[in-house]
Each structure stands twice: as C-alpha cells, then as structure tokens.
C-alpha cells in the first residue's frame, strides 16, 4: 500500500526562481574553494528542489525550522551543494555554515555527513544511498508509519552492482514508500556513459524489469518531476529517471567533464553569473 504523498499543487514558476537563486549561491560558494562539485549539483538541482519543496512533508518546530517527516538521502554525495543551499534557505544550515564549506573550522564537506543538521546519511562512495534509503523505507513499513523516503542517485552509480542489489530488494520488499530520482546526466568521471557504456541504456526499461515503476522526464522540468511522483501508480517503488545536463545553465560547464570538480576562476565566475537564467521546461 502506497503511503500518501503531499498532493498540493506545485508552483513551477517559483521552482524556476528558486533554482536560479540556488545556482547563483552555489557559484558564490565556488569562489571560496579551489575545487567543488558544481556541475553535478547543477544537474540534479531541480529534482532536489522538487523533493524539498514539493514532496517532503515537514512539521514546524517551535523555533520555526522545519522537522522533516519524510526522509531524503543524497546518494550521489557529490551533488550535496544542491542540498546545502536548500537547507540554508530552510534555516536548517546557517549562512555561516556555508561560508565555512570545506574549512577546518566548519562542518560541511564536499560530501554530506550524517550528524550535520538535515543530513540523514553520509554518502560519497557511490552505490550506498539506495540501500540505506531502502532500509529506511523498510523500517517505516515495518513500523506501519506513512513516512516516505526519497533518494537521488547519479547515473554513474548505477554501474555499482550494489545499486542493483538495492533495486532488487526494494522491489521484493514492495517498498511503495520509496522514490528514487536518477540524475541521468550521461557523464561519469571519465566519459560520456552512452559512448563508453552503450549497454547501460535504456535505464528505465531495466528498472521496470526489476519490478519498479519508472517514469522518464526532463530532469530540469520541476513540474514534470512533481507530476511523475504524484501521478504514480503507487503499488511499488518508483524511479523518476530525469534526463539532465551536467553543469546545466552555464555554457562552458555543460557536458564538459573537468567541471565535475573544478571551481571557476574570477572571469569564469562572472561569465557564469551573466549567463544564468531561469530554466524552463
């Protein structure tokens, strides 16, 4: 039995405005350090935004901060800047936290760390998050709770056998309260996956063969991402396979592998800010 999802309407225009702000904020942070994962955060940003602003239910704490009722695991840990800037906006991380990103006197690293407010699992090594998220979803099912678990995976980490162990067991356990978002940006660290690993595609068909419900969407279209989740059948785990562009929004970053980890210099930063605009469907 599927747990109920929040079904209120989703304001796609507001999501576009937020994601523009988040991209600018991530670029600002990029000027504090020599290396960080800008492009991997840009490719999954709309999906993470939909999760936090459209899907995860929360209760307001006395201090005004939200307490999340639904779970979220950033399995592609290198996308965590997308998570950090949203947690900052929600007041769970402070501006000071982000100012100390990757500094000895701070608490935010280049991969999310369990124990930091808002971070539910430590990731970074790929192929771990789906199993942890499945365990969370399984526990909620055992406990009879209606909490959902959301997880964002990269396409590269689908090359890990452990991811497929996770897909297999989540389906066997009929975890209808688990939703996986796959950031199909077509790049692993070294190469374009469709070229280097042509048998990797089609992804959605593989997931369906593993008894998942799978929906393919434009991974930068917040409205479509939201609709894919709210319109699901709901009798099994759901995968939202989002076709995305690594480095989305900055011309020189898009689909260029070096931006997996490089920080833009001053000129590149200025160019990126000038180029950024709201990304539509």
């Amino acid at each position: 039995m599927s747990a109920p999802l929040r079904r209120n309407s989703f304001d796609a225009a507001a999501a576009r405005r937020r994601c523009l702000t988040y991209r600018r904020r991530i670029l600002d942070i990029s000027q504090q350090v020599t290396a960080l994962h800008v492009a991997p955060a840009f490719s999954c940003l709309e999906m993470v935004d939909v999760i936090y602003h459209g899907l995860v239910r929360s209760d307001a704490l006395p201090d005004g901060k939200p307490a999340f009722r639904d779970g979220f695991v950033m399995s592609k840990g290198h996308g965590c800047l997308a998570q950090y800037v949203i947690l900052e906006e929600k007041g769970i991380l402070s501006r000071d936290d982000l100012a100390r990103y990757c500094r000895a006197d701070g608490r935010l690293g280049a991969h999310p760390d369990y124990g930091v407010p808002g971070i539910e699992a430590s990731t970074g090594s790929l192929g771990h998050g789906l199993g942890i998220a499945a365990g969370m979803a399984c526990a909620e099912k055992i406990k009879g709770s209606d909490r959902n678990t959301f997880v964002v995976l990269s396409d590269g980490e689908l090359q890990e056998g452990s991811s497929w162990e996770g897909f297999m067991m989540a389906a066997n356990l009929r975890l209808a309260n688990l939703v996986a978002f796959i950031d199909l940006n077509d790049f692993s660290g070294l190469e374009r996956m469709s070229e280097g690993h042509p048998a990797f595609h089609p992804v959605a068909d593989k997931l369906r063969a593993f008894h998942w419900e799978a929906v393919e969407v434009n991974g930068h279209d917040a409205e479509a991402i939201f609709a894919a989740v709210t319109g699901r059948r709901g009798d099994r785990p759901l995968a939202v396979v989002g076709r995305t562009v690594k480095g989305k929004g900055v011309s020189y970053m898009e689909n260029v592998p070096i931006w997996h980890y490089r920080s833009p210099n001053k000129e590149e930063y200025a160019q990126a800010l000038a180029e950024l605009k709201e990304i539509g469907a």
């Binding site: 499945a134 365990g135 452990s162 162990e165």
Partner: protein, 308 residues
C-alpha cells in the same frame, strides 16, 4: 553456538519488537527458522546479496530498529566490507554483524569460506566493537548483551561465532561483562588467553602444565575490541608465563596487542603467541585437522612450549 545465539535472540525478540534479522541466503535458515516463523515481517532474506544486507540494516537502524545482519562470517564482513565500514561504522549505528564460522570453522569448504582475518579487519575500523564468545554459554551471555539497552548506546558490533557442537568451557567462570576479560579458571604460574572456541585447547594445555606441577589461569578475551588493557596488563604482571592462542591471522589480533601491552607495561613474564599461519592452507578435513595444519593443535603448541 549458532543455535544458542538464535534461541537467545528469539527470546529477546519476543520482548523487543525493534529487533530484526537481515540474512543473506544463509543455508538453511536453520537456526534462525524460529525467528523467521515467529516474526516474518521482521525477517528479511536479501538472497545472495550481502551489500544490500548491510545497507538495509543501516537504513533500518537510522529509523530506530535494531537489526542484526546474519550469515557466514566471510559474507557478513568481507564481501560487503565497505558497506560495513561506511554504512555502519562511519555512521556509528547500533547494528550487530553476526559472523557464523569465524576463523577456519568451515574446514571442508576451502579458503573462500574462511574468515581467518576477520577479527583484525573488524577491529581496524573505528567505532566497531568485536565480540567473540568461546562456548554456547558465553554465546548466550554475549547475545543477551547484544540485545540489551546498554549495547544500543554503542555503535556497530561484530559478533564472531563458531558453528555447532562447541564444548562448554565457561561452567565455573565469573560473570560475563562486556569489555572485561573473564577468568574461566584461576592459577598462579601460567596464564592462557584467547577468544572463541579455540580456547578448548587452553584446557588441554593447562592439564599438561598441571601435570608438571604448575597452576594455570585461563582467560576468555571475548571482547577483543575494546580490549580490557588493564586486565591484560594485570595478567602479564601476575603470571610468569603468558600464552595467547587465537584462531585468527597472526597480524592484527589479540597476540600482537598483548605483546604491545607487555612492552608498554614493561612486563617481565615469558610471552608466547599462537595464531593461524599467514597462509591459505588447502586442507579439507575436519576443523581440528585444518587447525593442526596451521599448527593450532594441542600437540604442536605443547611441543613448541617444551611440554612434551
């Protein structure tokens, strides 16, 4: 030991509905069948897939359950090693990783089924505790600890068990306390320390020492990590001859730790350590025969100690 663990765990599960079991095609579910039948919704078999066994346990622990991962030692610890390290130890989660057949218990199955380095590897990971009871009664005590509230204030535990048919060694011993070594027998001259079912050799060696007029202490170091350093140092101080026996690789186990403590505490006793060889030995007989091939049998040890 398997059955004692399973029965003790089942009794605890009757009272604590957070206790869950995640197995990876342990064949047959055998000892755990009672739990499986009694609590089908808290029993998960991932099949021949050990990484997800550990991943599920991590997620379940993060949501307040108390999962036990359970299969043959090499498949609970080695196959999913990075998941044990990252998902359980890095998160410091109260998951118990139960390894059946630690050491070379599965003697006829070959090196693929031997966990002869398990204690060293598990001990090397931060936050991990390592428990290795020596007989069914101590397994019961260790399991009772592993399901109690105190245990769940700690992080992950590797519980190393034997298989079946181990003799009782702890009948007259002092009570089991996690983190404290335990005298199974007190003497004045010689002290034999070890963990796990191999401790039965200690009793056979003790008889040989006693025949020569020496009195012998035997200690179960069931908690290999955190090791009771004070207890070890006291044993080194109180005995003229200390012997460590372990069914584990010669690197990273109890023997090297006792030697290190002996140096630090300026111990003056004689100290001998016996472990498995640093080798894969292709012998497919009984457990005792494979141990003998490693030099871990009473006759070999007695010879090396000049007792014959």
């Amino acid at each position: 030991m398997r059955n004692t663990f399973a029965n003790t765990f089942y009794e605890a599960a009757l009272k604590d509905e957070r206790l869950c079991t995640v197995v990876a095609d342990i064949s047959p579910a055998g000892a755990m069948d009672k739990f499986r039948t009694g609590f089908p919704h808290r029993f998960i078999n991932t099949g021949v897939a050990e990484q997800i066994m550990i991943g599920l346990c991590a997620g379940m622990a993060l949501r307040g359950l108390r999962p036990f991962a359970y299969t043959i030692a090499t498949f609970t610890l080695f196959r999913p090693f990075e998941f044990v390290r990252d998902d359980l130890c890095y998160h410091d989660l109260p998951v118990t990783v139960v390894g059946i057949g630690g050491g070379v218990t599965y003697s006829t199955l070959g090196g693929t089924h031997h966990a002869q380095e398990d204690v060293a590897i598990a001990s090397a990971i931060p936050n991990m505790s390592v428990l290795a009871p020596c007989d069914p009664a101590e397994t019961r005590a260790a399991t009772q600890w592993a399901v109690n509230e105190e245990r769940f204030r700690r992080g992950p535990v590797y519980l190393r068990l034997g298989k079946a048919g181990e003799p009782e060694l702890t009948g007259t011993a002092e009570p089991f306390v996690f983190g404290r070594l335990r005298y199974l027998k007190r003497g004045e001259d010689v002290c034999i320390l070890g963990y796990g079912p191999i401790l039965k050799l200690a009793f056979e060696l003790a008889a040989r020492f006693e025949a020569k007029g020496k009195s012998v202490s035997i200690i179960s170091c069931h908690t290999v990590k955190p090791l009771d350093a004070e207890g070890v140092i006291e044993a080194l101080r109180r005995h003229r001859h200390v012997i460590v026996i372990e069914e584990m690789a010669p690197t990273g186990g109890l023997g090297p730790q006792v030697k290190s403590l002996a140096w630090d505490s300026e111990a003056r006793c004689r100290l001998d350590t016996f472990a498995l060889q640093d080798a894969f030995i292709h012998v497919y007989g009984s457990h005792a025969e494979l141990l003998a091939a490693h030099g871990l049998d009473t006759a070999s040890i007695a010879r090396r100690l000049g007792l014959d």
